[in-house]
């Protein structure tokens, strides 16, 4: 086992942003000839890690060693000099230039690039790693998969020894993704160190030599190469699912809520719901949620949860199927109509769509009731009523804000979530969809948010909680549905056996 020193080693690398620790003392090593897969949910800290390796960000603590020497990757140019190249999900090639011209970019500006020479070198490099490409082809005429292969070839032409593929397969067709996977294997056999970031477990297992799992900024575990070879794909999947979603705090043993009585009236029903979408079509969703019941929806991010929530809320058109609330069909209503019927949606995109950052807290609290009395009379605002409402909600939901006139965008993440909860949970809510309700919050706000969800259910609301944190669902939900590739692959009651069964459903064992 006389392995050479790892080409790059991270020692205790920490990166903080205001209010959040994006990477918390990460130790990791990347070796030549290895495909090292980085797994983790959105927000787990993969992008931050990549941006530090690419020289875009500097660690606050810890060191990055390049071949055993602590090195400051102070700029992207410096990282490139050291042979560190990154291929992103979206192509970084200029579509109106040929592949060879793209490869020639970055030369001295006064020098006329030697197009023929670049074409020859590109063809040669491509042939070496078994990629078929035409250097004189116009980039815009190629598929995304071909462009990414060209980007990899370009990186190698520039002497890359360390290649980061940041969700490079996310936008590819299955055929192109498989091609990229095989290319990764060939690169590893050429001695390149490959870092592959993906959401897809099957790719991780098929192409990876080593797996590291990030969660909430920390490295929670991994699978070493020897172990990886010994495990069957299925066993490896289960290991990874366990790492990604397994209990992190045995102390906070989830006390599953008591089951809802069988006689509780059904409040929200989805009947054979289909939602057309280019990336994740949602199909054949049948769900019922009873009064006072919390239904969890588990699954890896990007498996149609957001699309489903938006379709129920009315933001996204349904291609077929029906939705019933308290027995009445609401699929013909628009967002406002569904809200008036009692349907509420707490979005996870709190700044992007949940609030208007530049508008005051008081207006954001009424964002879904603009024009409604008593806050507007005959379409004209009544500032006294608007402020009165804001003061009452700020107090009731403990929103920490300097003033009700402070722009909502200036609040912290936890307080913005409180603002959204205040907006959605007041009035006559009958059914509430919570999308990743504790994502990005600190512990105190997580606890406060979970309490609000329980209270809402306690008042007789039907609640749907979409979460990628299995522990959260085990703590909150009465039943848990597992969503994968736009389908509900199973619904299990939240009992002692739930964790194992959900893990099986996620890894496709029981599908």
């Amino acid at each position: 086992m006389a392995d050479p020193a790892p080409i790059i080693r991270l020692r205790g690398v920490t990166k903080r942003y205001p209010g959040i620790v994006a990477n918390d003392s990460i130790d990791m090593e990347f070796r030549q000839g290895e495909v090292h897969v980085l797994l983790g949910e959105n927000g787990a800290g993969k992008s931050t890690l990549v941006s530090m390796l690419a020289g875009l960000q500097q660690p606050d603590e810890g060191v990055i060693e390049v071949e055993g020497v602590p090195t400051a990757l102070s700029s992207p140019e410096r990282a490139l000099e050291l042979g560190i190249s990154t291929v992103f999900q979206h192509s970084m090639l200029v579509p109106t230039l040929t592949l060879a011209e793209n490869a020639a970019l970055g030369g001295r500006w006064w020098r006329n690039p030697d197009r023929r020479g670049h074409e020859a070198r590109m063809a040669e490099t491509a042939a070496r790693i078994g990629v078929v490409l035409t250097p004189s082809a116009l980039t815009g005429s190629l598929s995304l998969g071909e462009r990414q292969q060209a980007e990899i070839v370009r990186a190698l032409m520039r002497g890359a020894r360390f290649l980061i593929l940041d969700e490079a397969t996310a936008m590819l067709t299955p055929h192109d993704a498989a091609g990229l996977g095989q290319l990764m294997r060939r690169l590893a056999s050429e001695g390149v160190a490959v870092v592959f970031i993906t959401h897809k477990l099957n790719e991780a297992i098929e192409y990876g030599d080593r797996v590291s799992v990030l969660r909430l900024g920390r490295k929670v575990g991994g699978i070493a190469p020897e172990e990886m070879r010994a495990l069957t794909p299925r066993a490896a999947t289960e290991r990874i699912v366990h790492l990604m979603f397994g209990a992190q705090d045995a102390a906070v043993a989830a006390v599953a809520p008591p089951p809802v009585g069988a006689d509780a009236p059904v409040v929200l029903e989805c009947l054979a719901l289909h939602v057309a979408d280019a990336t994740v079509p949602v199909s054949a969703i049948n769900l019922t949620v009873a009064a006072a019941e919390i239904l969890g929806i588990a699954g890896i991010d990007g498996n149609g949860q957001k699309e489903l929530a938006e379709a129920i809320a009315g933001q996204r058109p349904i291609s077929s199927g029906r939705i019933r609330l308290d027995g009445a069909f609401i699929d013909g209503l628009d967002v406002g109509g569904r809200r008036r019927a009692g349907l509420r949606y707490v979005t996870d995109d709190r700044l992007g769509e949940g609030t208007v950052g530049g508008f005051p807290v008081s207006i954001n609290l009424l964002l879904k009731q603009i024009g409604d009395p008593p806050f507007w009379q005959g379409g004209i605002e009544r500032p006294a009523k608007i402020d009165e409402n804001a003061r009452a909600l700020v107090k009731a939901f403990d929103i920490r804000t300097p003033s009700i006139h402070t722009p909502a965008g200036k609040l912290s993440g936890g307080n913005i979530q409180k603002l959204l909860l205040a907006r959605e949970l007041t009035g006559s809510a009958r059914a509430v969809i919570f999308a990743k309700p504790t994502y990005g919050l600190d512990l105190q706000n997580i606890a406060a948010t979970r309490r609000r969800i329980r209270e809402a259910a306690g008042r007789g609301c039907a609640a749907i909680v979409i979460s990628t944190e299995l522990d959260e669902l085990l703590e909150l939900a009465h039943r848990i549905a597992v969503m994968s590739q736009g389908r509900i692959v199973g619904v299990v009651p939240n009992d002692a056996d739930a964790r194992r069964r959900i893990g099986e459903l996620m890894s496709g064992v029981a599908a």
Partner: protein, 359 residues
């Protein structure tokens, strides 16, 4: 701004007054700077800046006939400012104001002189303004539909509609609406007695009152009504608008209808109050010159009135100064452009200062 001033330790002035002074300084400083810099440009042109600005202000602000001309010109300019405020606050960059203005003007100039022979004058004036609103709105319809339902950038489409609209109005004047009694390609002329009434025995057209009423109404609508708030939500964050259940396409159509309609109305007020007819080659390009003023006013109706007054006075005055000192009319635009640049610089500087104080 208030946070900045409370951090300053000097002085015993109450914070409100200090904040007001700071705001005034941030607005007046760039204005003085703009006059100084354009004065330097005048020096390069071998023109005495004091002479130049002396003539400008004497004519535009101090002579009775000049003030009246300044106020009369404000009418259409205020309507165009109102048109832009609605659109810009809703995040829609309607830059097609020139064509909307001209189309409104051409149709009114074609129809009003004929109708006064059959209908009471007041009715003709009211109907003419309605016609201009409808014509302007129609000219804004195509960019509106493309933006609302296809997501096509309205900057490009409204600019293209400008080329079409300016050429079409010229063609209409020459081919369809031409006055058969003259050899010059122009529409029939609305007799002076049948135009918008003048104010209190002066020569100021009541178009000024229409402009003031409309821009104040627009300001009130955007800041105080539910409809205006909905438009501002669409402008500030379209995703949030969709999430809150607002119909972004329908609101987009409404914004374009109002904005382009006001553009057309501005054309009508220019014809009915001031010009009386349209020549085939006429295009004052008011809408484009108003764009920087609306930005300077930060989409605020009251501030826009102030800037429009200043610009109008500079414009009228520079016409007089141009004749005497041989400085092109367009020199006013140099002053406005310098003002815009200096204001941006001041704003950036103030933001940096706030950032350094760690606010």
């Amino acid at each position: 701004m208030t946070t900045e001033t409370t951090n300053l330790t000097s002085g015993g002035l109450p914070p409100r007054l200090r904040a007001a002074l700071a705001t005034a300084g941030l607005s007046l400083g760039p204005m003085i700077g703009a006059f100084v810099l354009s004065g330097l440009v005048l020096l390069l042109m071998k023109v005495n800046p004091f002479d130049y600005y002396g003539y400008v202000f004497q004519r535009g602000l101090l002579s009775p006939s000049g003030v009246q001309a300044t106020l009369t010109r404000m009418g259409p300019l205020l309507l165009l400012a109102a048109s832009l405020i609605v659109a810009f606050r809703a995040g829609l960059w309607n830059l097609g104001g020139d064509a909307q203005f001209l189309m409104g003007a051409v149709f009114v100039a074609a129809w009003a002189p004929l109708m006064v022979q059959h209908l009471p004058v007041w009715l003709v004036l009211v109907l003419s303004m309605l016609v201009s609103v409808v014509i302007g709105a129609i000219w804004g319809l195509l960019p509106a539909i493309l933006r609302a339902y296809q997501g096509i950038n309205e900057i490009i489409t409204t600019l293209m509609m400008n080329f079409l609209g300016i050429s079409l109005s010229s063609a209409l004047v020459k081919l369809v609406f031409a006055d058969p009694d003259t050899t010059v390609p122009q529409t029939r002329t609305l007799p002076v007695g049948d135009r918008l009434p003048v104010l209190f025995g002066s020569n100021v057209s009541s178009g000024l009152v229409i402009g003031l009423v409309v821009i104040l109404a627009v300001h009130w609508m955007m800041t105080r009504t539910a409809f205006g708030l909905k438009l501002r939500v669409v402008g500030a964050n379209p995703e949030a608008a969709t999430h809150a259940g607002l119909s972004v396409p329908k609101l987009t159509l409404a914004v374009f209808a109002i904005s382009a309609g006001l553009g057309g109305l501005a054309g009508a007020v220019a014809i009915l109050g001031q010009y009386g007819n349209v020549r085939a080659d006429w295009n004052p390009a008011y809408a484009f010159t108003i764009v920087p003023l609306v930005f300077l006013a930060r989409f605020n109706g009251y501030a826009a009135i102030g800037y429009v007054f200043l610009f109008s006075a500079l414009g009228i005055g520079s016409e007089s100064a141009a004749r005497r000192l041989d400085v092109p009319n367009y020199f006013t635009l140099v002053t406005v452009a310098l003002l815009l640049v200096l204001l941006a610089v001041t704003e950036r500087w103030a933001a940096l200062r706030r950032a350094r104080k760690g606010v």
